[in-house]
């Protein structure tokens, strides 16, 4: 069989076109593999918000080889809005305990920073949720990330298709960033834990409230791009009273009696998901994050304190995320179909 020049050119063009179409699906969407070889998580018992949290947290932190000597530590709580009786925000006593612990560990400075995602009046949320007075009493500086100086930051992953985000200087210049989420379910993303908590670093003045551009780019995708770009050095997750059901604002308080500490956000979130009774591999940003940000597999996570105690009754979720609660062995096909649908419809208004 002879190949004419014309056949050769047509074939080459077809190959090039095919490669152009398929390459984006085959190439990884992240720039570098940031995973540690092993990760460490500590599930610490804490039944209530009290002054005892200082000691509990200090003991928990001793389980990790943390070096913050002379460093600037930024604590990033989950502070979204205030609705009386709803367990929406990371409790201020836990944040104060963390600040005190890092000061004792020799941090040059410890500050609290957040850009509330739902309420534009940051000072109102601070005041209503008990932060304002607490931070003032302890002389801890707060930075409103919705209004901080912004730096154009290239994204280190390409899940959203965005090339860059304007991100706050305070976060980018932190030596040690601690994500302090409230353990909650979320009606658009399934869960909101240490990785989703990073939505709070995206400035509302530039991206709207509630950071609506990220919703349209895909919540799961945005979480991955953000966590690839802004490294989380440590996690302190507030599960003393968590939230289930129609989170992140209108769910039901769910006492979990736990603080989760971790040196890897993916390991933290996978562990929190298990504590909620969810299959962590079904949460898109945890599963995908385990490819390049951190470790989700139990085999790669050292449990430094208590073991993961899966609850007899999993956390309630909105119907679209019921597949998170089903054990993997049951009807995987149906679950995967549901997961696919849920991951495509989180584009909240």
């Amino acid at each position: 069989m002879s190949v004419t020049r014309r056949d050769f050119l047509i074939g080459s063009a077809a190959l090039a076109a095919g490669a152009t179409v398929t390459t984006p699906f085959l190439l990884p969407k992240y720039h570098s593999d940031q995973r540690p070889k092993r990760s460490r998580v500590a599930i610490v018992d804490a039944q209530q918000y009290s002054q005892q949290l200082d000691q509990i947290l200090a003991a928990g932190l001793r389980l990790f080889p943390i070096d913050v000597l002379g460093k600037t530590v930024v604590l990033k709580p989950n502070l979204v809005d205030y609705i009386p009786g709803n367990a929406i925000n990371t409790h201020p006593l836990l944040v104060l305990a963390a600040a005190e612990s890092f000061r004792r560990l020799g941090a040059k400075s410890v500050l609290v920073a957040e850009g509330p995602g739902h309420q534009r009046d940051t000072q109102l949320v601070l005041s209503q949720s008990g932060y304002e007075q607490s931070l003032r009493d302890e002389k801890i500086r707060f930075v409103d990330l919705n209004r901080d100086e912004l730096i154009r930051t290239p994204l280190r992953a390409g899940y959203t298709g965005m090339k860059h985000l304007w991100l706050p200087r305070t976060v980018l210049e932190a030596d040690f960033l601690v994500s302090m989420p409230k353990i909650k379910t979320h009606h658009w993303s399934g869960v909101t834990l240490s990785m989703k908590n990073m939505f709070g670093v995206v400035p509302g003045t530039r991206y709207g409230w509630p950071k609506n551009i990220l919703h349209w780019k895909g919540i799961q995708e945005s979480i991955l791009d953000l966590c690839a770009t802004v490294p989380i050095h440590f996690v302190i997750a507030d599960g003393i009273v968590a939230m289930e059901g129609n989170g992140p604002l209108n769910g039901t308080p769910r006492p979990l009696g736990t603080i989760v500490l971790a040196d890897d956000p993916v390991a933290a979130d996978a562990t929190c998901a298990r504590l909620m009774g969810f299959e962590s591999g079904r949460i898109v940003h945890i599963r995908e994050g385990a490819r390049f940000i951190g470790n989700a597999s139990s085999a790669l996570i050292d449990q430094a304190a208590e073991t993961v105690d899966v609850p007899a009754t999993p956390f309630q979720v909105v119907p679209e995320f019921r597949f998170l609660r089903a054990p993997l062995k049951c009807d995987a096909t149906a679950s995967n179909a549901q997961e696919s649908q849920a991951s495509k419809t989180p584009y909240a208004r």
Partner: protein, 306 residues
């Protein structure tokens, strides 16, 4: 004893001190990155008072306009523009040389709409994506292009467009867009009155209203003061405002309640009595406090007649 004029004078002096050499203001007192929102509120607050350099501020705003007629959030931002365009149009309202720039801004606003204005998204929200209760036929303005409508940007756009005396010369769409925006606000009110950020009901749960979002919406709806939805929201704000201790929400509440002829004397007293007002880190809030204390002039600046 402190009085309103003394407090106002102190706050205006602080505001003037924070003006940057470029003519603009930064969002936070500790920052040197100029931003458009605090510059707009500051320019409105310093209008007709002999402190600060208003002309320099207005010049800064004119210099930062995007080629497409919109304004960025801060100089150097990507040039697609956003919600802040409405505020700039109002901040430049009395400046004759700014008329061409304002017209460009208004045209941009008329071409900008929430994503639900598009037939495809309208269809999707009506058929497949119904967890958030709203009527997609009633749309307003997004924070930024390619997202859906929200209460605050819609309210600011209505206020800006209402300042234009005639809908002519390419601005014929103003009445239509303003009406659509008003309908959107009415549609998305919280069940008990007032407005949350965007919608009143999500996943079957009634959302709690926000004081500042409600107040800004009520300014935009001053012309609908007799509507029961508006009345109910004014009632909500009047009940809520006395408990507000955050100056930003309190300032907006004062402006909105004054616009709707509700008593505000005790709220103004509460505002001026807040500790260390001039030390507020957020410059927009500092300027808003000035505007609330001098509420008559502020309402005029927003084009709201009482």
């Amino acid at each position: 004893m402190t009085t309103d004029p003394i407090v106002l004078s102190d706050l205006l002096a602080e505001l003037a001190l924070r003006q940057l050499p470029c003519g603009g203001w930064a969002a936070l007192a500790s920052s040197s990155q100029p931003a458009i929102e605090p510059t707009c509120y500051s320019a409105l607050a310093l209008d007709s008072v002999p402190v600060g350099d208003l002309a320099h501020a207005q010049d800064f705003l004119l210099r930062t306009q995007n080629p497409n007629g919109s304004w960025p959030v801060f100089p150097g931002d990507d040039q697609r523009g956003g919600w802040i365009t409405s505020l700039v149009v109002m901040a430049l309202r009395d400046l004759v040389p700014a008329i061409p720039a304002r017209l460009q801004g208004l045209h941009w606003l008329l071409n900008c709409a929430g994503k639900e204005a598009n037939w495809f998204w309208k269809w999707k929200f009506r058929t497949a994506d119904r967890h958030v209760r709203f009527n997609p036929d009633k749309y307003g303005w997004p924070w930024f292009p390619d997202t859906v409508s929200w209460v605050v940007p819609t309210s600011f756009a209505i206020l800006a467009l209402n300042q234009i005396p005639c809908a002519c010369g390419g601005l014929e769409q103003i009445p239509f867009r303003v009406n659509r925006g008003v309908e959107m606000l009415m549609d998305r009110v919280c069940p008990g009155g007032g407005w949350n950020a965007g919608n009143g009901v999500v996943y079957g749960v009634a959302l709690a209203p926000h004081a500042d979002d409600t107040a800004i919406a009520l300014l935009a709806l001053r012309d609908r003061a007799e509507d029961p939805v508006v009345q109910g929201s004014v009632d909500y704000l009047e009940r809520t405002a006395p408990a507000l201790t955050a100056p930003c929400s309190l300032a907006w509440a004062i402006l909105a309640l004054a616009a709707h002829r509700r008593p505000i004397a005790s709220l103004r007293s509460s505002l001026v009595a807040l500790p260390d007002l001039s030390g507020i880190e957020d410059t927009s809030t500092l300027a808003l406090a000035c505007l609330a204390i001098d509420y008559r002039r502020a309402l005029s600046a927003f084009g709201v007649t009482v």
